[in-house]
């Protein structure tokens, strides 16, 4: 996987290229004058000239990360909490600016998730339509996929729930419907941030199968997860981020083995697995 020489790249089509990416967050309201009125005024008045003096802290979340993702790959992103996985994903989606470097993409990568577009006071039915439109599907596409989405979510297995407002759903049911809507669209590049942890075991199985399907239909899938098993089940390549740096990039088994050694996870689990 790591042999990304120009000659092999000719047959494989790149979908996402990160070229020396640095991402820096700026956080207001920290430092010496935290929260005081003068500090706040200072921040508004002096915006750029004196970030430090005004108590703006810089968090260097991702440092000099480069990789090339190809069509047909499913790539896992692993790393301990706060290592920059989600941040990198957001930047690939074009939702966060990069400080240095560039991210090139084929088409528009999309984060899996429509939660924010759904309204709990509307029926599941209307949310399917609203969510689909929010993801950029046409009304016809949604109509064609509607039954598929409802069946996949399994919302109607226990009665006619799809015509009830979403606020009446249990959290598990709502999560299932959200995943079903989000996964209904074919994406060129799909970015998933720990979405597989929703629903019961049966539904998790189904969503893993759906991810594999999406991967076949479309280009590339990125998956952020702390669940090494779901990474193993869905991904064939893994990027390991630690403290914002790309520590390792290679086939799933190799990288996970090193990662488990690093976190001490593999040692404790080995007896159970063997």
């Amino acid at each position: 996987m790591a042999d990304i020489a120009p000659d092999t790249a000719r047959e494989r089509i790149p979908t996402v290229i990160a070229d020396g990416v640095d991402i820096v967050y700026r956080v207001n309201g920290t430092g010496a004058g935290r929260g005081s009125a003068t500090a706040a005024l200072n921040r508004i008045l002096r915006r750029k000239q004196a970030e430090k003096a005004a108590g703006v802290r810089r968090v260097h979340a991702v440092r000099n990360v480069s990789f090339v993702a190809y069509r047909g790959e499913a790539i896992g992103l692993i790393g301990t909490n706060g290592s920059g996985k989600s941040t990198l994903l957001k930047a690939v989606a074009g939702l966060l600016p990069v400080e240095r470097g560039r991210i090139y993409t084929d088409g528009q990568p999309s984060l899996l998730g429509v939660n924010a577009a759904l309204m709990k006071d509307l029926t599941g039915e209307r949310n399917v339509i609203l969510g689909g439109l929010a993801m950029g599907m046409s009304r016809e596409e949604i109509k064609a996929r509607y039954q598929e989405i409802v069946d996949f979510s399994g919302i109607n297995e226990k009665g006619d729930f799809i015509t009830l407002p979403m606020r009446t759903y249990s959290s598990g049911m709502a999560a299932r419907l959200r995943f079903s809507i989000a996964a209904a669209k074919d994406h060129d590049v799909l970015l998933i941030d720990e979405a597989l942890a929703t629903g019961d075991r049966k539904f998790q199985k189904r969503s893993e199968a759906r991810i594999r399907e999406l991967r076949k239909q479309a280009g590339t899938v990125f998956l952020v997860s702390h669940n090494n098993k779901s990474i193993r089940d869905t991904c064939d390549r893994v990027l390991w981020l630690e403290r914002g740096e790309l520590r390792m990039d290679g086939p799933t088994d190799e990288v996970l083995k090193e990662y488990e050694k690093f976190t001490g996870d593999g040692a404790s689990k080995k007896p159970a697995k063997a």
Partner: protein
């Protein structure tokens, strides 16, 4: 399980992620026609994207409108009840207690038209101010031209206004205002007002995205603007009666302000006792001018910061 992260050794066993090819990543991207993620589209491209999302804009507006009263027992009836109650309160205060009615024929239709038309602008601008800052979750999760949000909120207010207009028609007939062909003028007046509202909303949305504090300020600005726009009284009458000490330009300036223009146009369209001479000169020209200025200006101003919304 303790995870002590002393500076990890740089990339141990595995080969460096991208060995020699690092320098021609940009070339690789160019060869396969990849584009830079998160760049702002051109203005025509932006308009096309927005047009492609028109169904989302309308569906989002309708969804917000229906979700608003979905928990209430009377449900969607509140769409009509709320503006009627509003009008009743203003009638009680300004018509009965303060007697600003004097000299204005058909005072109730006059007042109610003013209140409804003003409420349209007021709630559009309030919603616009929070269009980005209040929907960061949506902006950070999904890709769509961000102008869809302020537009959608203005559309929601327009739908709300159409309910109010139905109530208004009943009030007009009840107070003996005859239906007339001039009622059709309400349509172009509304189109112009909507364009104006949408434009100003987009300006406020961009400012509000950078400085959310403006949302705290807006109610005061809007209240001042309301009292200066002749919602509950006729600017004409007040200036004629109490305006002795005022410079002569105050009346015309107040009447040419966009809120007053759109309110008076609607009154002129709907109420037969509201005559053309009460309107400022070239009123349609002024109304169109405000709409174009705010609409086009606001759209471009909003687009200029498209790639920055929802960040940081």
């Amino acid at each position: 399980m303790s995870q002590v992260l002393h500076t990890p050794p740089p990339a141990p066993a595995a080969p460096a992620p991208v060995p020699a090819a690092e320098h021609d990543l940009a070339a690789l991207a160019a060869r396969h026609g990849l584009s830079v993620s998160g760049a702002r589209p051109s203005l025509p491209g932006y308009v096309r994207q927005l047009w492609a999302r028109r169904h989302f804009i309308t569906a989002f507006a309708t969804a917000k409108l229906t979700a608003q009263y979905s928990q209430a027992k009377l449900g969607q009836l509140w769409q009509v009840m709320t503006p009627l109650l509003n009008a009743a309160v203003y009638y009680f205060i300004f018509g009965v207690l303060m007697q600003t009615r004097d000299g204005v024929p058909d005072y109730v239709p006059f007042l109610v038209t003013g209140v409804f038309v003003w409420t349209f602008t007021q709630s559009s601008l309030l919603a616009g101010t929070r269009a980005i800052s209040g929907n960061l979750g949506l902006v950070r999760a999904l890709h769509f031209p961000r102008a869809a949000l302020p537009l959608s909120f203005c559309l929601q207010q327009l739908q709300q206004l159409l309910f109010s207009m139905a109530a208004l028609a009943v009030i007009l007939l009840a107070f003996g205002v005859p239906p007339a062909a001039s009622w059709l003028l309400a349509v172009p007046a509304l189109v112009l007002q909507f364009t104006f509202n949408a434009g100003v909303s987009m300006i406020l949305a961009r400012i509000g995205a950078k400085t959310p504090d403006i949302a705290q300020l807006m109610p005061f600005v809007l209240r001042t603007w309301m009292y200066a726009s002749g919602v509950m009284f006729s600017i004409d009458h007040i200036v004629a009666k109490h305006g002795d000490g005022l410079p002569s330009w105050v009346g015309p300036v107040l009447q040419a302000n966009p809120a007053a223009v759109y309110i008076d146009l609607m009154r002129f369209a709907l109420i037969d006792s509201f005559r053309a001479h009460q309107l400022p000169d070239h009123v349609w020209l002024i109304a169109t001018g405000w709409a174009l200025l705010a609409g086009i200006g606001g759209f471009i101003y909003f687009w200029k910061a498209e790639e920055t919304y929802g960040r940081g």
